[in-house]
């Protein structure tokens, strides 16, 4: 046995305490052997195998490699669908910090974590999809295509990733016990939230604006000059619905990592988020109709693509009423199911815009390996989410800082403590 000096042993103890949640390595490993983890591990293993193929043989190894449909599932779902869900971070940040809606404070950290992971993995998908990923930073430092919407997206996603990482810093520092750093991170919160709003509104709409460049290629029922607005407006209920669904899942699967305050507040919060979603979705449906009228493309409605549009549109049209019904009846389960349907409908819209209605006059194929890699990477994302929630105070308040939160009665204790 090697003997370390005492201070090194202390460090090792501290690190293993943080990593293995106070368990010994053996106990921790034993705990990892669950059916869920084994299945997840298998999926990730196959996905990583395909990824090695992709990076050694080129994109053709795992994608359809089409010049008609150059972007497949990686960007269609990994970027264009995942980013609207990830609006949850900026929407909740705005609600709590800017509008002072403290009722939503219990889910705020979860929202920011979900937003951060969504954006981070959107970048991971970009790294998988672009031909020369080692050049991903080129739009930032090497060559500036200032007339390109994608240039805007690149800058904003990069900056927003940074902003969200910083927003996530307080709970991370709470976990590690870095008190001074946490205080500094807290001080810049407001500036971060406002820059988050700027960056989000612009790049959520920019993702839609990217397709402004494809009239004729994108089916007329989806192509409209409203695309940036439609993408922006729909990203908000997408984020809210995502939060409703994930909150429900944490209630089932991560209960022991949450405090009672969080668990008790979820029902009421879900109803509030559902109410907001109803209003925004009905507005979206109106805008969508307006766009069809504006472009005057009614003649396409009675075609196969028109029927498909009708399916998507009907789903959107029914959502606000379902939310309204659920909220009126105070039926949380109903609101949660509606949120699940919202997530699906938003995904359908983004996949339609980027893949199905895109190049609608040409045949479409997706290589199955794309789907496997997609699922594997999303599984990694889920595992990282769980890893973080298991360790950091995301669904609960850290005992040292609990007094900062409970308002206003507990507020006096902050003052006395601070002075």
């Amino acid at each position: 046995m090697i003997k370390f000096p005492a201070w090194i042993n202390e460090y090792i103890d501290w690190i293993s305490d943080k990593l293995f949640m106070g368990l010994t390595i053996k106990e921790y490993m034993k705990r990892l052997l669950t059916p869920f983890n084994i299945i997840a591990g298998l999926i990730v293993f196959v996905g990583l195998y395909f990824l090695i193929q992709r990076y050694t043989q080129g994109l053709v190894a795992v994608t359809e490699a089409s010049n008609e449909l150059p972007w497949g599932l990686f960007l269609g779902i990994g970027l264009f669908t995942q980013v609207p869900y990830s609006s949850v971070g900026f929407v909740l940040g705005t609600a709590v910090y800017i509008f002072g809606l403290k009722k939503y404070h219990p889910v705020l950290k979860n929202a920011i974590l979900l937003g951060f992971l969504g954006y981070f993995f959107a970048v991971v998908f970009i790294l998988i999809d672009i031909g020369r990923p080692w050049r991903i930073y080129y739009p930032m430092v090497i060559s500036f295509g200032t007339n390109s919407v994608l240039f805007l997206v690149a800058w904003h996603v990069a900056l927003y990733n940074l902003v969200q990482a910083l927003e996530l810093a307080p709970p991370a520092f709470e976990w590690l016990g870095f008190k001074t750093l946490r205080r500094w991170a807290k001080i810049i919160t407001l500036a971060l939230v406002i820059s988050g709003i700027m960056l989000s509104t612009l790049h959520q709409s920019a993702l839609g604006a990217m397709f402004l460049l494809t009239p004729g290629k994108l089916h007329p029922l989806w192509y409209t000059s409203f695309l940036p607005w439609l993408f922006f407006v729909s990203c908000i209920p997408a984020g809210l619905a995502y939060l409703i669904v994930v909150s429900k899942l944490t209630q089932i699967f991560l209960k022991d990592k949450a405090d009672s305050h969080y668990l008790k507040s979820l029902d009421n919060i879900s109803l509030g988020l559902g109410k907001a979603s109803a209003l925004i979705l009905i507005t979206y449906v109106g805008l969508r109709l307006y766009s069809v009228a504006q472009e005057n493309v009614w003649q396409y409605l009675n075609t196969p693509y028109g029927h498909w549009f009708f399916v998507e549109f009907s789903l959107f049209a029914i959502l606000p009423f379902l939310f309204y019904y659920g909220v009126q009846r105070k039926n949380v389960g109903f609101v949660q199911l509606t949120a699940l349907l919202t997530i699906f409908t938003i995904a359908l819209n983004r996949v339609n815009t980027t893949l199905i209605a895109f190049n609608w006059q040409l045949p479409h194929h997706i290589y199955w390996k794309e789907g496997v890699v997609l699922i594997a990477v999303l599984t990694i994302q889920l595992l990282i989410y769980r890893w973080v929630v298991n360790r950091m105070p995301i669904l609960r308040e850290h005992p040292d800082y609990i007094s900062e939160v409970h308002l206003p009665s507990a507020g006096t204790s902050v003052a006395s403590k601070g002075s």
Binding site: F144, T189, T214
Partner: protein
């Protein structure tokens, strides 16, 4: 690397695209005049005999891989080929159609070299660029392979080397930019035995095209494809058969493609400047209300507002 001018350009586009004059994004599209002496090509489809010598010359001039069958093989006409797709590694292909009398009509397909290219306005790193000379060129040194150019091109032209893991390239016709730079005519125009392809200044090619149409109105239809399509292209076509019957995209309009995103880009600067004020203002409002309430309880509760 970043020079001061580049820095200003970025600053301009990220912060005040709509407000800054020359370098802002908003003005870029409408201010396009182009080099009046830029080159173009004119394809006269009534002259083309489908000999595929342009394909052979192109293959040689650009050092492309040898095709599966020889350039004399006419069986390739049985399908409508696209340049640079799967195993057809060519910058240009000739396809055969028939007019109403059953007479063959040949159409050469390649990059159209738009005056204001969609691919160039899509490119986030200026790898795709309309050169001063006229060809739309691509810079391998900065391309990172996002393939938005391929998504954007209304003519389905650029292609990607998906089977290349380490140096995948965007492939398309570059109008023999390397030859033009040395004062040599593009290979296809040089090889054509019947002068179906003419190389020259675009402005003069348009005059030539209309001269041919007007002097033989029965032979040609009254349309120079590319004069206005997609805002004007460097490659022009005249034909005796309506272009729609030759698979020419007829839905590209006459608006230069950068125009489609101009309005959106001009909103960027306004948003970046207005949002902090707007949301900062709302924050101050809700903050103020909170302060008043707490004044009654205890004075020093600034902590709380920051939450």
């Amino acid at each position: 690397m970043m020079s001061r001018r580049d820095f200003l350009k970025i600053g301009g586009s990220l912060l005040a695209g709509s407000l800054v004059g020359d370098h802002g994004m908003a003005s870029a599209a409408k201010s396009f005049t182009g080099n009046p002496d830029r080159y173009g090509m004119l394809s006269d489809l009534t002259r083309c005999i489908g000999c595929r010598r342009c394909e052979a010359a192109c293959n040689k001039a650009n050092n492309l891989p040898e095709p599966k069958t020889s350039f004399e093989d006419e069986s390739v006409f049985e399908e409508k080929r696209k340049p640079y797709v799967a195993d057809v590694q060519a910058y240009t292909v000739v396809n055969r159609y028939y007019d109403s009398n059953g007479k063959p009509v040949y159409r050469k397909v390649q990059c159209m070299h738009c005056d204001e290219p969609a691919c160039a306005s899509a490119c986030p790193v200026v790898a795709m660029k309309k050169s001063k000379e006229g060809p739309v060129i691509w810079n391998e040194d900065v391309c990172f392979g996002c393939r938005y150019c391929i998504v954007a091109c209304p003519f389905h032209v650029p292609a990607y080397e998906y089977s290349n893991a380490f140096t995948p390239k965007v492939q398309k016709c570059f109008m023999c930019y390397h030859r033009i730079s040395e004062g040599i005519v593009p290979a296809c125009a040089e090889a054509c035995p019947v002068e179906a392809i003419t190389f020259g200044k675009r402005s003069e090619l348009i005059k030539l095209a209309w001269t041919r149409i007007l002097s033989e109105p029965d032979k040609y239809i009254d349309h120079v494809y590319g004069e206005h399509e997609a805002g004007g292209t460097g490659w022009l076509y005249i034909s005796g058969v309506p272009f729609s019957q030759l698979d020419f995209p007829m839905d590209v309009g006459t608006t230069p493609y950068p125009e489609y995103t101009k309005d959106f880009l001009s909103m960027v600067g306004l948003t970046l400047i207005s949002w902090p004020a707007l949301f900062g203002g709302i924050y101050l409002m809700s903050n103020h209300r909170a302060e008043n309430v707490q004044d009654e309880v205890v004075d020093s509760e600034k902590e709380e507002d920051k939450l």
